[in-house]
């Protein structure tokens, strides 16, 4: 089963609006009918995670976390998708948490291993970016300061 897990790259490909809408309508219809099947919930949740919209991804993670807590047989699988979701949200800490949960039980899982690499890469890049932002801010501040000083001198 875990071999079927999609690689993180697949999560980057969004569904079309129509497809997502179908999934969404199916999900809400089942809510109205009083019984939500795990599959519909997952479909919509995964569809949401595949979008590029943070709010929708968050919503998707919420749905998957619901499945995670309610349906033990799907827990391992879900932990991976939740990790992907957090990865897409750039919440690398939680992504790592869920991915490691899966790796704990299935150390040989290729998808989870590649996700771990991606997460680590993301963390380091964030570090550089943070550094860059700090540096940039410092530069801007310097320029502003310099111009201010110049003006006062004039």
């Amino acid at each position: 089963m875990p071999t079927e897990l999609p690689y993180a790259a697949e999560a980057e490909s969004s569904l079309s609006f129509e497809e997502l809408d179908v999934l969404k309508r199916q999900y809400y219809k089942e809510i109205e009918d009083g019984h939500v099947t795990t599959q519909s919930k997952f479909n919509y949740g995964w569809g949401l995670i595949k979008t590029q919209n943070n709010e929708m991804q968050t919503e998707g993670i919420k749905l998957l976390q619901e499945i995670y807590s309610a349906s033990p047989p799907h827990r391992r699988e879900c932990s991976y998708y939740i990790a992907v979701g957090y990865y897409k949200l750039k919440n690398y800490a939680n992504a790592k948490k869920f991915n490691d949960l899966l790796l704990q039980h299935e150390p040989g899982n290729m998808q989870a291993q590649s996700l771990r690499v991606l997460i680590e890469r993301g963390v380091t890049r964030d570090g550089y970016i943070g550094l860059g932002i700090v540096a940039g801010a410092a530069a801007v501040a310097g320029v502003v300061l310099a111009s201010v000083i110049k003006r006062t001198k004039k």
Binding site: E4, S16, E19, N43, W46, Y68, P73, L89, N91
Partner: protein, 745 residues
């Protein structure tokens, strides 16, 4: 056009962004969406167009052909030719489009959802990922996703269209479909080279075929057919996945239904418990109200007996009818329920009668060995013996410190239990000191003692003392009065509110006034039986008598001696009942033993003017004590009734026919019949439960609320239990081996 208004609105932004987007995009032909998306992806609200464009540009550069782009852009707005940006090396290593979350720890926009999911993380990570063994394998969610996502249907639709030979009139629609299919394929990770390489030529070819009309079918290429076959195989596989998905969902629903049913069962059980609790509270309230209406609530410890107490005119309920919680020490609550916690070796031979005044109070037992003993229930020690009857005590009742016993000698004796211990000590002492003539000194001291006793007592006790001279001569012990009148053994006795009712083997029921010691009424069962006073008997179906067998083949001319099918025919039972000496063998007990059953009247209870009796002819009779007439006869038992009790609504009777029946008093019908393997010899009930001795060591406990049967066996009797009496959660039972057990319920 929507895109125009977009342009207009975003003009300044676009201009501002142009220098940034320039390096990314070689051609700036209506690239607003792309620019906007790349820079402010996370803030993008109108995600759909940007989405499709972005994916395509990010992940599938090979697909970046203008027509497909246009299709993916959706038909509405961006019809123009969009040139794709140059492919970037790794979509996942794009510049972050939002402020990096790694720095802040939380996503850039903290909505309630994002907070909620983060909050749940810790809890979720605590959950076990262990697979429960034995659980059938579900199709994985992603497999289900691929099988159920809408685009999985597209190839099928397309095939249908082709087969139908329909002309794809709208090129735009067609190509849009193609785009969707492609998207779907990619969503399923199915980037088959065939679909990748030459999507356009094949489509064009197909269109040409369709234009060709009648030649369409033949000119379908072999490769197309192979592809279609592949698609069909894939579809079939998807269908299989969806089937198993639905199966697993059905299984899940059934599991949920099972769980819900279990929950429902538990809820119903707790409802029953609440019901029981309500009944208990009702009883408690009744008890408290009774006490409230009693002016003697501040009971003086010196008042000597229940007899005196009743002189105040307040009716005091018999302890046997007392409802509500009995006073139980707190230690009692700690005892495990339904376990016998005390055992007393009381008699040689069977226990024939027992009663106690209150839990952890005084217990009096009568046995086949002809002895009547008094016990302290606190420590299970014998306090003394009641000496006076010739023969065994067959019926007794303890009321506070007053004890009433009926013996096989036909006499009824009243005892003051408070002086039993003292008397026993004196007796012991004088027996040791003056073995030559023990009687005289006892007499002297007893006279002294008696004097004190009467001083405290009310005036009418002097009369009583005259009446009881005979018993005093015989034994100057704790016996305070003897009532004589029955010509044969007294087998049942019920005392309440100064009135004593006794039933005897001489087939009469007598009503006594305890104050005067006179017999006030005699009811002859024999005459009642020979002239049925009401139509009740006629109404009862004769079929209710089990006529197949008899109590013993040796006794009746019955050819079915099987001990497991013992019952009396109506006629033989009647003949036995009306014969000079009533005597039938009991069915065998669980240990194979049996005895000659001679108690003609053995169930008796009165309440005000109502009296209910159970007798050897198997009848339960309801009497009016004012007229002395049996106004109703309830017939259902096919063997002598051995015990009964009633309350406002029900009579419960047990019989040698091995049944216990619950009657509705108003209609006079049996509403419940409980059959047992062995004869029912004793029972008691309150609003919540029925306890019965059913000829087995285990005591039958029937829960009236939940209708569940239970056997009390833990540390229980080793020979069949014969008699029991209980109060609230305190039970005392005696068995055929002469042992007494005290139970916590």
């Amino acid at each position: 056009m929507a895109s125009d208004s977009h342009k207009g609105r975003h003009r300044p932004i676009k201009e501002a962004l142009e220098p940034i987007s320039n390096p990314y995009m070689s051609t700036l032909n209506d690239t607003l969406h792309i620019a906007k998306e790349v820079v402010m992806g996370s803030l993008q609200s109108d995600y759909r167009r940007s989405e499709s464009v972005r994916i395509l540009s990010d992940l599938a550069p090979s697909l970046m052909q203008p027509r497909i782009m246009a299709a993916a852009q959706n038909s509405s707005s961006a019809r123009g030719v969009v040139t794709a940006p140059p492919p970037r090396p790794n979509a996942l290593l794009r510049l972050p489009t939002s402020f990096p979350a790694g720095l802040t720890g939380i996503p850039p926009r903290a909505t309630s959802n994002s907070l909620a999911i983060l909050e749940a993380v810790d809890q979720l990570t605590q959950m076990s990922l262990d697979r429960s063994i034995g659980q059938e394998e579900h199709p994985s969610l992603i497999r289900g996703f691929r099988a159920t996502v809408p685009s999985s249907e597209l190839p099928k639709q397309r095939r249908r269209l082709i087969r139908g030979g329909m002309v794809d009139a709208d090129l735009g629609l067609g190509s849009e479909k193609m785009g969707l299919k492609r998207l779907g394929d990619r969503a399923r990770g199915l980037l088959t080279d065939g679909a990748d390489d030459t999507p356009e030529p094949s489509r064009r070819r197909r269109r040409r075929h369709r234009r060709g009309g009648s030649f369409g079918r033949q000119s379908l290429k072999w490769e197309d057919l192979v592809k279609q076959a592949d698609e069909i195989a894939l579809d079939k596989e998807n269908l299989h996945v969806r089937t198993s998905l639905i199966h697993s969902e059905i299984n899940e629903v059934s599991a949920k239904i099972d769980t819900l049913e279990e929950i429902r069962r538990r809820l119903e059980a707790s409802l029953l418990r609440l019901q029981e609790e309500r009944l208990e509270l009702d009883d408690e309230l009744e008890g408290v109200q009774e006490l409230l209406s009693d002016p003697n609530v501040m009971r003086d410890a010196k008042t000597i007996s229940a007899i005196e107490h009743q002189e105040n005119g307040t009716p005091v309920r018999s302890s046997r009818r007392r409802k509500g919680p009995a006073f139980l020490p707190s230690e009692h609550d700690e005892l495990p329920p339904n376990v016998a916690f005390m055992t007393m070796r009381a008699h040689e031979g069977s226990v024939t009668a027992l009663d106690f005044n209150e839990p952890y109070g005084l217990l009096v037992t009568g046995g086949d060995d002809g002895k009547a003993k008094v016990w302290d229930l606190c420590d299970g020690t014998q306090i003394g013996e009641l000496r006076g009857h010739f023969g065994a005590v067959k019926a007794l009742q303890v009321e506070d410190t007053l004890c009433l016993t009926g013996g096989t000698d036909g006499n009824i004796k009243l005892w003051d239990l408070r002086i039993v211990e003292e008397y026993e000590e004196r007796r012991q002492k004088f027996a040791n000191d003056v073995p030559a003539s023990p009687l005289k000194p006892i007499k002297e001291i007893d006279a002294e003692d008696e004097g004190e006793f009467w001083d405290e007592g009310p005036s009418q006790f002097s009369i009583t003392s005259n009446l009881t001279t005979l018993s005093q001569v015989e034994d100057e012990g704790p016996c305070v009065r003897t009532l004589e009148g029955h010509s044969k053994a007294v087998t049942a006795l019920y005392y309440e509110d100064r009135v004593l009712v006794t039933g005897s083997q001489d087939k009469t029921i007598r009503v006594w006034s305890v104050e005067t010691g006179r017999c006030e009424m005699t009811m002859d069962l024999l005459s009642v039986m020979s002239n049925p006073p009401d139509l009740q008997q006629v109404q009862t179906k004769p079929g209710l008598y089990r006529s197949s067998t008899s109590f013993g083949a040796n006794h009746y001319d019955d050819l079915l001696p099987s001990p497991s099918l013992i019952g009396l025919s109506g006629a033989s039972l009647l003949s036995a009942a009306t014969s000079q000496t009533f005597s039938v063998p009991t069915p065998v007990y669980s240990d194979g033993s049996w005895r000659q059953y001679e108690e003609f009247v053995s169930g008796l209870q009165s309440w005000g003017y109502a009296l209910v009796s159970g007798s050897g002819d198997g009848a339960v009779r309801m009497w009016d004590l004012r007229s002395g007439q049996a106004h109703r006869t309830l017939l259902a038992h096919s063997a002598p009734v051995t015990c009964l009790q009633f309350d406002e609504n029900h009579i419960i009777s047990g019989s040698l026919d091995r049944t216990m029946r619950i009657w509705d008093i108003r209609t006079g019908t049996v509403i419940e019949t409980h059959r047992y393997e062995f004869p029912v010899t004793s029972l008691g009930f309150d609003s919540r439960r029925v306890l019965a001795c059913t000829g087995e060591p285990g005591i039958e406990l029937y829960n009236r609320t939940s209708h569940k049967h239970q056997r009390l066996t833990t540390n229980g009797h080793t020979s069949p239990a014969e008699r029991l009496r209980f109060s609230d959660r305190y039970l005392v039972s005696g068995d055929r081996g002469g042992s007494i057990k005290a139970w916590a319920l």
